[in-house]
Amino acid sequence: MNGQVVIVGAGPAGVRAAEALVKAGVLPVVIDEGRRSGGQIYRRQPDHFKRSYDTLYGSEAHRAAAVHRAFDALLPHIDYRPETLVWNVAEGHVWATRAGETEAIPYDRLIVCSGATDRLAPVPGWQLAGCYSLGGSQVALKAQACSIGGAVVFMGTGPLLYLVASQYVKAGANVVAVLDTSPFAGRVKALPKLAEQPDLLWQGMKLTLALKRAGVTVLSGMTPAEITGDPETGVSGVTIRTASGTLRHFECDAVAMGWHLRPETQIADLARASFAFDKATRQWLPEIDGDGRAHVPGLYLAGDGAKVLGARSAEVTGELAALAALADMGVAVDKDRCRHLRAERVRYVRFAQGLAEAFPWPHQFVADTADSTVVCRCEGVTAATLRASVSEAYATETNRAKAFSRVGMGRCQGRYCGNASAEIVAALRGEPVECAGRLRGQAPVKPIPVGTARTDV
């Protein structure tokens, strides 16, 4: 019956997957790039830091503590590889590298729990020093007890925008404004779906109120115009157009920006998962069944790396994927537990639909990106160069456009320009965004040292 199970990612999804396997007597290899387990939301602070769970995780403190405890209890039973990057998957092996040494680890079943990163829209000036991804601004606070600047503007959309801004206020940082591209009316319309998680909905409303009470300007339905600043000294302010059409400028030395999240799908892609276009989020997602099975036998996907459903759902889908793997290995699993988890997942999917409606990706704003705006931060490639790959070199989709313009080829490998590139290419060709395709995952998924030696041969 047995076989090697490898889990990529030790966030809430990976932790609960590992736990379900260990309970059934199957001892997995768990690989995570991070120094410490916990993933993004339940990221642990380094040694020497003393803030309490309440300070770090707020209303989710008990969940964070439970996930950390669960993982710590698994340590004697699993083969845990921290600070190890999985950079390729091929022929039944994951290629993992740690401290300059690479190993090909064989697997019979692979559970990918790779999480998400921020989804970004290009704004003129976002290449300036002092612009950070929204998630990055939260990492500065959670992992290092720092603010990204002395006066911070939060710009983008999604629940995380309000959450991180209020975490900054609470920690004593100077938050200038929270600027949301989503119109307020959309949030009201999405209320029935958001009511699927009443405490999260209530929390969101409380956060906005607290921000306003703290004197932070909060605007909905705005359009970013420019991040102002100087190449040498970085960001000096943000100019936006309000919902009523007037220009407003906010002075600041840092901007945290993000438009919700995008799943990290490169590992699933290299493991040959199939993808389907998701209309609600305008993203390509790996195809899985209700338990997390991909179309490739032995491959399972869970957590935000499969579909962004949030941390609570990640615990559910992580366990479900592990139970699916166990069932496929011929191990008897608790059918009632599976039914319960599936029902939970359905509720999270509905809530996520509500969020996508309440905080939509501003695709028209992205499609209209000015020619002079940098689309690729890595290599300073402008929208004009990207458009020329379509109009002059006849690229019909993003991978061709990438080959001609280098948008998507830089050091972030398309993580921060891929969504925008597809919108710009599709709009210019007058086609729906799905016709622009998706940037294919390529090994190595992140740069690795060339001198890397193999240790498994």
Partner: protein
């Protein structure tokens, strides 16, 4: 000197000394190299493809905007490397060889 980042808490950690472009800076044990540099300065490096200075972007090892080098040419991803006593970092322009030997 005030840097780009502001420390809000956890400031009672032991000091760590390093140099950036030859100047001494003091960081705290457990700082990432990025926080050490940006609590004391404004940038990590210069962009290879534009005029601007860069100070990282994602802080989670995804964007690769924060690679810096020490005097011996060793490269570090500043957001995911813990600071160490005696490091000597250069923020001066790199050649565009990140893909070959970061």
């Amino acid at each position: 000197m005030t840097g780009r980042f502001r420390r809000l808490d956890e400031t009672d950690r032991a000091p760590v000394r390093l140099t950036v472009d030859g100047s001494d800076i003091t960081a705290l044990t457990g700082d990432t190299l990025m926080v050490a540099m940006l609590a004391n300065g404004h940038a990590l490096r210069s962009a290879e493809f534009g005029p601007e200075r860069r100070a990282g972007f994602c802080l989670m090892g995804a964007c690769q905007d924060c690679w810096v080098r020490d005097a011996d040419g060793n490269a570090f991803r500043a957001c995911s490397t813990e600071v160490a006593e005696g490091l000597a970092i250069s923020t001066q322009p790199l050649t565009a060889d990140w893909a070959v030997a970061p």
